[in-house]
């Protein structure tokens, strides 16, 4: 009986292309031990520390910190920025991956390299870049003012919610396209070409032929994009100064922590625990999407 199960397990392992054996012998056990220890110290303990510190002064303090006006306003700004960033970058990701994978053109490699720039640019630079354009001394400020005069509006593109959104879009720019490009590259163009030959319209081709192939990768990219968007700190910090108005949750954590009193530090960890919860939800979603996506391949 047991043997059968083992055999089945092996077969299924082979089918899914998974490998892995129980570690035996000194070296494998040592490696496993070192790996697990590093994992615990670097990744698990900090999580426990956040929870411990946030609850240190009881549930009442915790609740008050989370329901504070500044926290709720920060939550609102965070959600707005995350949603807009995800929408914009998904739209960009779909366009960029379609044009980069379905066609051959000059400068294709350059374009695909350029798209990844925000990955290796310091978030502080992202915030600074928008300040250089829309800030007090920025070259686009006079134009924005003219538009405001003309329309009778009072739009500010830095030190405002739109500024926070822009900075968030910058740092999450390539997340969706980066997940889509390899999948669409691997799929090739034969199926779409056949569909077009048979008379399908462009939108139908995308909806019926391309989309089913890329939906998991798309969802995966969206999840990664959202994760980075709600947690962005450096870029947003450069373009957001008004606490209670344009602060996001990570900035609120910073403000509370920097206030320095024991109470406000506990509050900072309480707000942090909210963010930790969000990141754990994101990670679980990511695992589910990854698993489903692999199963369907």
């Amino acid at each position: 009986m047991k043997k059968e199960i083992v055999v089945k397990e092996k077969a299924s392992n082979q089918k899914e292309g998974k490998r892995g054996t129980k570690p035996h012998g000194l070296v494998p056990c040592l490696l496993l031990g070192v790996g697990v220890l590093f994992f615990l110290i670097m990744l698990v303990f900090p999580l426990a520390e956040v929870i411990y510190r946030s609850l240190k002064e009881g549930l009442e303090v915790y609740g008050a910190a989370i329901m504070a006006e500044n926290t709720l306003s920060a939550l609102k700004v965070t959600l707005i920025a995350t949603i807009i960033a995800v929408l914009v970058n998904t739209f960009f990701g779909l366009c960029a991956s379609w044009c980069l994978t379905k066609f051959d053109f000059r400068g294709k490699n350059i374009l695909s390299t350029l798209i990844d720039i925000p990955f290796s640019v310091s978030p502080v630079i992202a915030g600074l870049a928008y300040l250089m354009v829309f800030g007090r001394m920025g070259w686009a400020t006079p134009y924005v003012e003219k538009i405001n005069e003309f329309l009778g509006t009072d739009i500010a593109l830095v030190f405002s919610v739109p500024g926070v959104v822009l900075a968030t879009i910058f740092v999450t720019f390539p997340f969706v396209s980066r997940e889509l490009i390899p999948v669409m590259q691997a799929q090739g163009t034969a199926e779409e070409e056949a569909a077009v030959m048979l008379g399908a319209k462009g939108s139908t081709v995308f909806r019926k032929v391309t989309f089913p192939h890329i939906k998991w990768a798309l969802l995966y990219g969206i999840i990664l994009c959202a994760a980075r968007a709600f947690g962005e700190f450096g870029a947003v910090y450069a373009v957001s100064k008004a606490r209670g108005k344009t602060f996001t949750l990570p900035l609120e954590v910073d403000a509370l922590y920097m206030a320095g009193s024991a109470e406000s530090i506990t509050q900072a960890f309480a707000v942090s625990s909210l963010l930790v919860l969000l990141s754990i939800i994101i990670l679980v979603l990511k695992q589910i999407v990854e698993y489903r996506g692999k199963r369907e391949l």
Binding site: G20, L43, S122, E193, K201, G234
Partner: protein
């Protein structure tokens, strides 16, 4: 790679998607970044040189680069072990561990920063342990390295995992049967196969580490005297302090950008070479 055909484009939407992609990239990424370049040209070359060779700026660059380098080396070692363990062994909690590797990506950097700073301060759990051995972790360069190891570890593990999964175990078996020791097999058979991926992960972690802001500013202490200011902190300081100095911030950012681009270029080269090697 697709065969190079000079065929007519059958699929629709080339102009549209190309136009949208290039326009969005230009408006949102390229023009803002180019503005930094233009802005820093407002000062003369002499002023520019004087500013970026100031002792605190040079020190910040040295701190950022050395700490990020050390952290990336540490990440390569432990990332290799973690990736190996996750691909080759079965153990309870493996899937949980695999999922949690990306925690540093998902967790906001300010949260990670304040948590690590408290943990490694002399009253924190690890900080007090390290204090007994005579190591001051928080508010020193050791702290910076710890924070950068935290943010960089997923890059290395995720770069190595797919390559390790494709590496057949028969290589090791063959090497073992031919009489090679385990270490020799690792050094001469496994490591060469992993090197491109390892370098790519190293490059990404390094690039991230050099520009890192949120997770290091709390643990570093930002003391000029002790040389624990990061470049990103110096830039931010110029934007926030009483005398706002946009030109100065732009000049330092420009140098940091050039370093990032150089790294990006190297990472891409490594990947191209790796691609050639595996295609054959």
């Amino acid at each position: 790679m697709a065969k190079k055909q000079k065929s007519k484009r059958v699929l629709p939407g080339f102009g549209l998607t190309m136009g949208i992609s290039v326009a969005m990239f230009s408006l949102l990424i390229f023009i803002p970044l180019a503005s930094i370049l233009i802005y820093s040209f407002r000062m003369s070359f002499g002023e520019f040189l004087e500013l970026i060779t100031r002792s605190n700026v040079c020190q910040a660059f040295a701190t950022s680069i050395t700490c990020a380098f050390i952290a990336s080396v540490i990440n390569c070692i432990f990332g290799l072990i973690l990736a190996w363990v996750l691909v080759r062994y079965n153990f309870p909690g493996k899937r949980l561990m695999d999922g949690m590797i990306e925690l540093p990506f998902a967790i906001p950097t300010s949260v990670a920063g304040i948590t690590l700073s408290k943990m490694y301060s002399d009253q924190g759990f690890f900080g007090s342990l390290l204090e007994k051995v005579g190591i001051k972790a928080s508010y020193s360069k050791v702290g910076i390295v710890i924070a950068l190891v935290f943010v960089g570890i997923p890059f290395v593990v995720r770069a190595l995992q797919p390559v390790l999964e494709k590496l057949p175990e028969s290589y090791e078996e063959a090497s073992e049967i031919l009489g090679a020791s385990r270490f020799y097999t690792f050094r001469r058979v496994i490591l060469p196969e992993l090197t491109p991926a390892l370098l790519a992960g190293f490059g990404l972690a390094l690039a991230r580490g050099i520009g890192e802001y949120g997770s290091v500013i709390y643990i570093s202490g930002n003391s000029e005297r002790e040389g624990t200011q990061m470049v990103s902190y110096v830039i931010m300081q110029k934007l926030n302090s009483g005398r706002v100095d946009h030109e100065g911030a732009a000049a330092i950012a420009l140098v940091l950008l050039l370093i990032s681009f150089l790294l990006l270029f190297i990472v891409n080269m490594v990947q191209v070479i790796a691609g050639r090697r595996t295609k054959r």
